[in-house]
């Protein structure tokens, strides 16, 4: 216990030690987070009228970002599976970064849901003993369980492994391996349940579609690795922790396959919607070509499709064996999927409305600032976790600095 408190104290101290660049980065992110908090405070006082949402389009940018980010969090599993099931040594270099990313991203997801609530002060109504939890009827209650469960699993795994590493002792397998395997299934479940939120609604034909969960997973397994590839390069450049090319190129391979599947499923969807255009294709029509003169999402979706194709082309050609092109592919895929899965999935669910009305949606400035704030806060959280985790992982933050780090009392810990 005393040991643990010392650990926390030292972690606290390390959190505030860094170069001026680190300070500038963290300060910038803090300022952006505070701007977002300010916008949210305004929304809390004035109500959701500060957003662009209406009775017809009752979910907007918040839920779009939430949906996208659940996928990114689930993608941590793509590091865990090669590391623990296929026993790829080199994946153990980075698997912890994936778990930490999942933690930061799940926190962002929870924030995005919270800011979307009309009455965040009644949040406790969802906590079983105090509130009434509509389980198992409501898919949203399933989502609350799986998201918080995934957060706890990753906190436990990452926290336990880091603490062992700090003590330079071998982690006890029974304390974390079962949780690692549970987290694999759990990661798939968070994104599937999130897809079921939409798929379960028979009244919204654009969402009521068995392909949606598969496409969710496929696109998540592109967007997640894309972000990881980019951040791993940042880590190896700016910190004293070396990440080889192997994990990056393993992720490239996974991403390529996932992107091919994603585009194939997109093709299936487009064929179904447009070959025999039923009334149910109205939403897709609105999305891709506009409906009754309303074309709000058309530029968005074609940009997304173009980015997806650029990403796919780069990924399947040998070009992306060069890191520069790979990075370009990652950026294209990440932005492309954020657009098509966020706004491109949520908004057409509401347009046309169930009674056939076309009311368009555009986020307001205040809403955008709240989103920006949450993205900044998530980045801040991830940066902080890395800033603390990396010294622990390369051994410069350890329980007994007086002991020679090259001769730990047991064999070196391996995650």
């Amino acid at each position: 216990m005393r040991d643990y408190l010392t650990f926390l104290l030292r972690v606290w101290r390390v959190s505030f030690q860094g170069s001026w660049k680190f300070y500038a980065w963290m300060t910038g992110l803090s300022v952006l987070s505070l701007i977002g908090l300010n916008a949210w405070a305004r929304q809390f006082v004035e109500g959701l009228q500060t957003t662009g949402m209406t009775n017809q389009v009752s979910w907007g940018a918040y839920i779009a970002n939430f949906t996208f980010l659940v996928g990114v969090a689930a993608a941590a599993v793509l590091l865990v599976i090669p590391a623990y099931i296929y026993k790829k040594e080199f994946m153990h270099e980075v698997v912890l970064f994936g778990e930490l990313m999942a933690i930061a991203v799940i926190v962002m997801c929870l924030l995005f849901v919270t800011v979307d609530l009309g009455h965040p002060d009644r949040f406790h109504h969802m906590i079983p003993p105090i509130g009434i939890f509509n389980f198992p009827g409501s898919i949203l209650s399933w989502d609350v369980i799986v998201l918080n469960g995934y957060l706890l699993l990753n906190l436990h795994i990452a926290g336990y492994l880091l603490y062992c590493r700090y003590h330079q002792r071998k982690p006890t397998k029974t304390f974390y391996i079962p949780f690692v395997f549970l987290s694999i299934a759990w990661a798939v479940s968070i994104h599937t349940v999130t897809a079921f939120l939409y798929v379960g609604l028979a009244g919204r034909s654009y969402w009521h579609h068995p392909l949606v969960p598969s496409r969710f997973l496929a696109s998540a397994f592109v967007a997640g690795p894309a972000l990881m590839i980019l951040t791993f390069q940042i880590i190896r450049r700016v910190t004293r922790y070396y990440i080889g090319d192997q994990p990056i190129f393993t992720l490239r391979m996974i991403m390529t396959v996932a992107m091919i599947i994603n585009m194939f499923l997109l093709g299936c969807e487009l064929f179904t919607e447009f070959y025999s255009p039923t009334e149910h294709a109205a939403a897709a029509h609105y999305l891709y070509f506009g409906l009754h003169g309303h074309r709000g999402l058309v530029p968005w979706i074609w940009t997304a499709i173009a980015l997806d194709f650029i990403g796919l082309t780069l990924l399947i050609t040998p070009l992306s064996r060069r890191i520069v092109w790979l990075n370009l592919a990652c950026v294209a895929c990440f932005i492309g999927i954020w657009t098509e899965k966020g706004m491109g999935l949520i908004i057409p669910g509401f347009v046309p409305s169930p009674l056939g009305q076309v009311v368009e949606y555009l986020p307001t400035l205040n809403e955008t600032l709240v989103c920006l704030g949450i993205w900044a806060f998530g980045t801040l959280l991830y940066s902080w976790m890395l800033h603390v985790a990396i010294p622990i992982m390369n051994g410069s933050l350890r329980a007994r600095p007086q002991l020679s780090p090259t001769e730990p009392e047991t064999a070196p810990a391996r995650f």
């Binding site: 505070l34 609530l117 009455h119 009434i132 609604l201 169930p354 009674l355 410069s396 730990p408």
Partner: protein
């Protein structure tokens, strides 16, 4: 991860790499914390505009409608009346209207007779105290009247914002849509906190003091029957209907969902819904489905009845019918 030679533990510890805490760094840290706290305060400044008593401890601790004792209910009704008086300058009489024994409400609408005058939509606003900016603002009305092209029942080509010199137009017919009080109601199924449910008389109601405002029910509803209070309802003093019920037409707080309850403050007291009373053509028929002698039962047995979006499987208690 330590197999990677470049990641061999570094010989220096973090304390050796970084400077220890000195007076100078301590002062710097203190200054930075001050700036941080000031920033946080500035960010939260809008909260100062929260009105006094808008969210009291009583509100936070209030239990779900179905768990309240009669005494607690009495206190809450009192509190709500006080609140309304403070906020809107009118003291309403808010009751907790309970369902009647042996009653299941049903509603039928004659599409042959409806002329699209929208009097029902306006009467709904007057009765149910929805937010509106002026007399023409019927956005929050629980009834949307669709102008349909003759020759099909196609919602896709319908229009709610029709505005001709007079109605009905020759090539059009009209279809008012409101909550269908479904037997298989997707809205109550998806609510994560059971803030909306079906009452024994079939009415789907919302506990506005329990709703968290996630709007999942709005996404689930195939009839677009639910409205959300994006702001504190705006309604002028003279327009307020003081005859109110907890589960229906009391003025809602901001940030919650509301919907048609077949005017339960009226119908549970033996009156007709406001939209029926105002209808100039007698297109609307309301009554007890469990009573075989009721007019609604007669219509369901003898008329050509049409269910909107029957394929979604909601089993509505709202029916459309045509004259022979």
């Amino acid at each position: 991860m330590s197999h990677e030679p470049r990641n061999e533990v570094s010989p220096k510890t973090i304390e050796q790499v970084y400077r220890p805490v000195t007076r100078r760094t301590f002062l710097k840290g203190a200054a930075a914390s001050m700036v941080g706290v000031a920033g946080l305060m500035a960010a939260l400044k809008p909260l100062l505009a929260l009105e006094q008593g808008e969210a009291t401890l009583d509100d936070l601790l209030q239990k779900h409608y179905r768990e309240l004792t009669p005494q607690e209910m009495q206190r809450i009704l009192q509190r709500l009346e006080d609140k309304c008086q403070r906020a809107y300058g009118v003291r309403p009489a808010i009751r907790d209207a309970r369902p009647l024994e042996g009653v299941e409400f049903g509603y039928a609408l004659n599409l042959t007779r409806c002329i699209g005058c929208r009097r029902c939509a306006h009467a709904c606003l007057k009765e149910n105290n929805q937010s509106r900016d002026d007399a023409n603002d019927i956005e929050m009305s629980y009834i949307r009247v669709l102008e349909m092209n003759k020759g099909a029942i196609n919602l896709e080509t319908s229009n709610v914002y029709y505005d001709p010199e007079q109605v009905p137009q020759k090539d059009k017919y009209y279809m008012p849509v409101q909550c269908h009080q479904c037997r298989q109601s997707p809205c109550t199924q998806v609510c994560p906190v059971q803030a909306t449910w079906q009452e024994p008389d079939g009415l789907v109601v919302v506990d506005y003091n329990w709703c968290i405002g996630c709007r999942y029910c709005m996404a689930a509803c195939p009839y677009e029957a639910r409205r959300f209070n994006y702001k504190r309802p705006t309604i002028v003093k003279d327009a307020i209907n003081p005859n109110q019920a907890y589960l229906s037409n009391r003025i809602r707080p901001k940030g919650v969902v509301e919907k048609c309850t077949f005017c339960l403050q009226r119908t549970r007291a033996g009156k007709y819904p406001a939209c029926l009373e105002v209808c100039p053509t007698g297109a609307r028929v309301f009554g007890n489905l469990l009573d075989p002698a009721s007019e609604i039962s007669y219509i369901l047995k003898n008329k050509r009845v049409y269910l909107l979006k029957e394929e979604v499987g909601t089993l509505p208690r709202f029916y459309y019918f045509f004259d022979q």
